[in-house]
């Protein structure tokens, strides 16, 4: 009872079309992602507490610095879901990594607004390290990062703040928590 996410290993007959489709897509230039794919299960689902433990462990040994004035929120400060929720393994890791990304995006925007090109360039240098995070390396892919880089980072390099502003819409709450420390 209550089976959890795991790699799909059984292929009933009605999956034949789907499988053929996946194979066809994979042969068309890397469209099929294999592994974790864009959504689906590999391994156990975590409850909220276990997800927070994962987050705390990642934060504890985070490989890159945050901008000055930011700190990772304590796990208990993160919002609790309104409905019973299970998390695919990695959710806590991705939360830590994307909080780090949000902090540097916000740092870039503030530095740009203040006309501090040195601080803005430093923010971009850290954001270029995103492919080294677990978020990109294990829970997204380089293709997505390249698209993000072209749509947001490249525009920032050219002095256009709008894509960063747009991106920060989904970061607003976490940035507030990070600035509170």
């Amino acid at each position: 009872m209550g089976s959890t996410a795991s790699m799909v290993t059984r292929f009933p007959v009605r999956l034949a079309l789907g499988l053929a489709l996946c194979i066809a897509l994979a042969g068309c230039g890397g469209s099929g992602t294999g592994g974790r794919g864009g959504g689906g299960g590999d391994g156990e689902l975590l409850d909220h507490r276990a997800m927070l433990r994962e987050y705390a462990e990642r934060v504890e040994e985070f490989p890159f610095p945050l901008p000055e004035g930011y700190a990772f929120p304590k796990p208990e400060a993160l919002p609790t879901p309104a409905v019973p929720t299970l998390y695919q393994k990695g959710n806590g890791v991705v939360r830590a990594d994307t909080a780090w990304m949000c902090a540097w995006l916000n740092e870039w925007l503030e530095a740009w607004g203040a006309g501090d090109s040195g601080r803005a360039q430093e923010a971009l240098r850290w954001l270029e390290k995103l492919p080294e995070t677990e978020f990109i390396a294990s829970y997204s892919d380089l293709q997505s990062f390249r698209a993000f880089e072209a749509a947001v980072l490249e525009r920032a390099r050219l002095g256009d703040p709008e894509p960063v502003r747009g991106m920060l819409g989904s970061c607003r709450d976490i940035i507030e928590l990070m600035k509170r420390g």
Binding site: G18, S140, S144, G166
Partner: protein, 122 residues
């Protein structure tokens, strides 16, 4: 390399290969909401979802942003699944640029097929 002739389900949508991800999941059979961990970047265009194998009951799948709550309406898939575009809560089919992951759940059913699989067009 362009993809052509991929089957009836995909005939009517544009298929740039870089926008396609094969996705699958085994939601909790008790009907709990599941938050998947894998993210993809989406530029501002229409996002769509195709489920071509469905769970034994029904599945509901939606997109969420990083740290955001789900800002898209969930799509519900019954029977063998099907193609459905994602829409914002206001009903718009243009999905803002951003990083997106899937939320999913199935209708509770304690003994049968809980596997869904499909292609995410994002």
């Amino acid at each position: 390399m362009p993809c052509v002739g991929l089957g009836v389900f995909l005939r009517r949508i544009v298929l740039p290969p870089e926008k396609l991800s094969s996705v699958w999941g085994e939601p909790h059979t008790g009907g709990y909401l599941g938050k998947y961990s894998t993210y993809r970047w989406h530029n501002t265009e229409q996002a769509a979802r195709l489920v071509y194998d469905n769970v034994g009951t029904y599945s509901r799948l939606g997109l969420r942003e990083i740290f955001g709550s789900q800002i898209m309406r969930s799509n519900q898939y019954k029977g063998s699944g099907g193609y459905a575009p994602f829409a914002t809560l206001l009903g718009l089919l243009t999905i803002p640029a951003g990083w997106y992951a899937l939320n999913g759940r199935m209708g509770a059913w304690f003994s049968r097929d809980n596997v869904w699989q499909g292609i995410l067009v994002l």
